[in-house]
């Protein structure tokens, strides 16, 4: 396939302005998540204002919440939970899904058939609902959240990677590698993976968006991150009482969620076709 796209010498592909904006917002939130404790102006759990649902002021940049805690600090720390949990879950889900998908494509036979049927069935469980079931049964903790979400999104990742890997597996160079007597692990690592890594990364990003939304939804229902800690979804839930008068405490966490998910979508939509080929 010949590509006529302009190439920057560094990465081998060019990203347009919208994509760059998306990427910078994502980078910004990741940095915030890492450095939150050092840059937040007030301790997260401390009540610093006598007024609740306080307005935006020079002391409290994003107002205060329903107990008079500083919203700016809470949103910075919330980034840790939202970005951290989502990133951890999506990494586990994609690692497991993609590895199994490539193995299934290369090995084929009954292994592929059984695994595909089983994971397709798991894929047909609505995510938010299954989250409710698990949280009801075992309670909510960070580990439970991460593992549950990873379990829910691994089958989709498996299906995606397998579909790609099956196509690559039919190529001549894979047959050649087999004829050379290379093992399964070598074939997967050296022949299959390099050829599907672009779409897989795009899929990683989209799955990250779904996970952020699911986590926020769970927290909004009170089943995600538990008080006194709060991710962005939980911040919206806590301050929902301020909704009727448009308190900044309920507006800004929502904006934070939207800015993260929209910029991931913006980045992926503007990746060159060569990379996100086949991704939807």
């Amino acid at each position: 396939m010949t590509s006529t796209a302009r190439r920057s010498p560094r990465f081998g592909f060019a990203v347009n302005a919208v994509g760059v904006i998306g990427a910078s917002i994502i980078l910004f939130w990741i940095l915030v998540a890492v450095f939150a404790p050092w840059i937040s102006p007030y301790p997260v759990g401390k009540i610093v204002d006598f007024d609740y649902y306080g307005p935006i002021s020079s002391d409290f940049w994003l107002g205060t919440d329903y107990l008079g805690r500083d919203m700016f600090s809470r949103i910075l720390m919330g980034a840790r939970y939202t970005v951290g949990i989502s990133l951890a879950s999506v990494t586990i889900a994609c690692f497991v899904g993609v590895t199994l998908g490539m193995i299934a494509a290369v090995v084929g036979g009954w292994f592929d058939a059984v695994l595909s049927r089983f994971l397709d069935a798991l894929n047909s469980i609505p995510a938010l609902m299954f989250g409710l079931v698990v949280v009801a049964a075992v309670g909510s903790s960070l580990t439970v959240l991460i593992l549950t979400i990873a379990t829910l999104y691994a089958p989709g990742s498996y299906r995606f990677a397998r579909a790609l890997a099956v196509n690559v597996n039919a190529m001549d160079f894979v047959t050649v590698a087999r004829a050379r007597g290379e093992g399964i692990i070598y074939t997967i690592r050296e022949e299959i993976l390099p050829n599907i890594v672009g779409p897989v990364l795009a899929d990683f990003g989209l799955r990250f968006v779904f996970i952020v939304l699911l986590l926020s939804g769970l927290s909004f229902l009170g089943l995600g991150v538990q008080p006194p800690d709060a991710d962005w979804g939980a911040l919206v839930r806590e301050n929902i009482g301020g909704l009727s008068f448009g308190a900044p405490a309920v507006v800004f966490p929502s904006i934070a969620i939207a800015s993260l998910t929209i910029s991931v979508n913006m980045l992926i939509d503007n990746l060159p076709r060569r990379i996100r080929d086949r991704s939807e």
Binding site: R117, F118, D120, A121, L122, S124, I125, P126, A127, L128, M129, F130, L132, V133, V134, V135, A136, A137, V138, G139, V209, L213, S216, G217, F220, L221, G222, L223, G233, V236, I240, L243, S244, F245, G246, V250, S254, I257, A258, T261, I262, V264, N265, M266, D269, E280
Partner: protein, 318 residues
Amino acid sequence: MNAVIARLVLKRLGIMLLSLLIVAFAVFFATELLPGDVAQILLGQAATPEAVAGLRTAMHLDEPAFLRFLHWLFGLMSGDLGRSYANDREVADLISGRLANSLELAFVTTLFSVPIALTLGITSAMFRGSFYDRMVSVFTVTVISIPEFMVATLAVIIFAVYLRWLPALSVASEVHGIGELLRIYAMPVITLAFVVSAQMIRMTRAAVIDTLNTAYVEMALLKGASRRRIVLRHALPNALGPIVNAMALSLSYLLGGVIIVETIFNYPGVAKLMVDAVSTRDLPLIQSCAMIFCVSYLLLILIADVVAIMANPRLRNQ
């Protein structure tokens, strides 16, 4: 030819039943086999060990997990959904009325969102690359990227707080006349329709554009057919299968959306029942609600598959 279709449909049905079995196992596994003693949870911290042991025996918790799974599964199949832990009523009684409410909500939403989404999806594919198309995709990407509860809270702010057109809560108890009915359904339906149709517009547009890229459409273009004729006569019939598939898949988003929307607007449906059951840890009720959601999801997928097979003869030769 009909025999071929019937066989394919039967095969899909078989696959669906198999999936359902696996899903049932997953639900059962998540609720009963993961750590956490149900009897202990039900009786609370202060319970004596004897009381816990007694309840365990009464609830057959001492039997092997596989036997309990079979027992539960056969109960489900014979319509015995078990008794609620929280108020000791038949789960089937609790669910039946709520299910009708949820289905009504889903039906009204479908009625509104499908025509709107189809129109927007097809027209934006027709005028691909235009300002209109870009506006539609900005809108759909935005709605897809924000959580459902945000759409709902925005709807509350706009329609209930600023405009004061609609009530923020919908309690479908006493309905007198069409006007009141509209007011009750309006908020949940608006929210759900937004969420569902964004997905549908995107997928419809992609399906139509896929068919617009084929050789026969290029041929139609070369022989001088108008754009409207190309889209409506040449592309659309071939895109029908993927479009219906897209609609069924998007409608399955109703399931996720419905949980949030029913909770926010306090709508008395199955999802609200389930969220309440989660807070009281009422496992039989949760299991039954979960199974209802999975069955409806699988049914939607089945319908989508069957329609795709009917619409596209090429799929019959698999």
